[in-house]
């Protein structure tokens, strides 16, 4: 299927660019670890574990924002955006490629951050990790689209957090719920539903957001 081949090519391109430039991933990694250290000092003595989970999710969302803010920059810096859009592939494939690449970066950062969190703050069981994965998918799917929207205007670094934060609230509800609730199943269903609805919406509307006229 040529669509999947296009997506794979685009994702590979993004990963290769990052591997060569090495600017986004180290920044995300350092950011999430620093944030965890800040949490240690921000949480007063004797705070329950639940607060730690809440802060974990704040860290995840802001790390994702960092990655997303940089997501379309390689294209814009090299004036490739218009070229990319003119490329002979379905424009939505561009969105899929970018989302998958961003997801890869986020997961890579979390591979280090989550064990660190589990070690120093609160345990993370399998269900919580599934929650993290599902929420990551949601953040990257919606975030890639919003980042493309914001990229067209001015003050895009300010705009992206404003656009993403309200949309990330159901994901945070789901993620924290999956970690702390006695019935995590419902929260995982919420996350899966969110991913389903918003991934499809983002996929379908990407084309409208990037076309010039």
């Amino acid at each position: 299927m040529s669509y999947l081949a296009d997506v794979a090519a685009l994702t590979r391109k993004d990963l290769r660019v990052e591997l060569r430039a090495k600017d986004t991933l180290p920044a995300m990694l350092l950011f999430v670890l620093s944030t965890l250290v800040v949490f240690h000092f921000a949480l007063p003595e004797g705070t329950g574990e639940d607060a730690a989970y809440g802060l974990l999710w704040v860290a995840i969302v802001f790390t994702a924002l960092l990655g997303l803010a940089r997501a379309w920059v390689p294209e814009q810096e090299h004036g490739v955006f218009d070229g990319l859009v003119l490329a002979p592939c379905d424009r939505s494939a561009i969105w899929v490629g970018k989302s998958v690449a961003t997801l890869a970066f986020l997961l890579a950062a979390q591979v280090v951050a989550l064990p660190a969190f589990a070690l120093f703050f609160a345990p993370l069981d399998g269900v919580a990790l599934v929650g993290v994965l599902l929420a990551d998918i949601g953040i990257c799917a919606v975030g890639s689209l919003l980042a493309a929207m914001a990229a067209a205007g001015r003050a895009r670094e300010l705009l992206l957090p404003l656009l993403l934060l309200p949309l990330s609230i159901p994901l945070i509800v789901g993620g924290v719920g999956a970690a702390i609730s006695t019935e995590p199943g419902r929260y995982l269903v919420l996350l899966a539903l969110y991913d389903g609805i918003f991934a499809v919406l983002s996929w379908a509307s990407f084309e409208y957001v990037v076309t010039e006229s």
Partner: protein, 230 residues
């Protein structure tokens, strides 16, 4: 094509009708509906607060519908219609939060409760649509702004069921659920008063929406006229 004049003729009659409905609603809410046993007189805020909340959702829905029309049919006027509808939605959303806070203070003694998921999720939606304006003001005018705004508006409407699901899935202890799966938990007269109030507030929002649209279109027409004359 004179867009400003095209649809204005019915508007004064509609506005008069809305005024009449509102009068009837107030009459029912204050003089005819019985007083609630548990909450006393402060329960009557329900007749204005819930319709306003529902109307805010209605406005966001209207905005999303116009957004869909824009993406689907590509007619430029839908962009302005969508924008104005969402503007109305934010105004009624602000009113929802204010009247809700007053009711909360009257019933539970606090202005706000983070425990109430319904409140928090409405706030989420409200913030979402406030960001809509940030998006619009940062993009240069043109079809791309129109389309991005439209996509964003549609995302908001998709957020609503997801948010409601989160309410139902998570636990909620405080916010009174007047409409459970068994139907409205109130007497017949109260229900009538509620429905009339709901209709009145929705009509009010719609009239304001139309008035704002006329004003904006007039402004655009005048701008075009100015360009033609200069």
């Amino acid at each position: 094509m004179s867009s400003a004049f095209a649809r204005i003729q019915g508007l004064p009659a509609l506005a008069a009708f809305a005024a009449g409905m509102m009068g009837l609603a107030l009459l029912l809410a204050f003089f005819i509906a019985p007083e609630d046993g548990d909450q006393g007189i402060s329960q009557r805020i329900f007749y204005i607060h819930v319709p306003i909340a529902l109307t805010a959702y209605f406005c966001f829905g209207l905005g999303a519908w116009k957004a869909l029309l824009l993406l689907w049919r590509g007619e430029e006027r839908h962009d302005l219609e969508s924008y104005v509808a969402i503007h109305q939605g934010t105004i009624f959303g602000t009113l929802t939060l204010i009247t809700g806070a007053i009711w909360a203070r009257a019933s539970w003694g606090v202005w706000w409760s983070w425990d109430s998921n319904q409140l928090v999720l409405f706030l989420t939606l409200f913030l979402f649509y406030c960001a809509y304006f940030m998006l619009r003001f940062s993009l240069p005018e043109g079809p791309r702004r129109a389309r991005s705004s439209a996509v964003y508006a549609l995302f908001g409407v998709a957020l609503i069921p997801v948010s409601f699901l989160a309410i139902r899935l998570a636990e909620d202890f405080i916010h009174p659920t007047t409409f459970t799966r068994d139907g409205p938990q109130m007497t017949g007269t109260m229900f009538t008063a509620f429905c009339v109030s709901w209709a009145a507030v929705t009509l009010l929002a719609y009239v304001l929406y139309r008035v704002e649209l006329v004003g904006k279109r007039l402004h655009t027409d005048l701008r075009e006229l100015r360009e033609a004359l200069e």
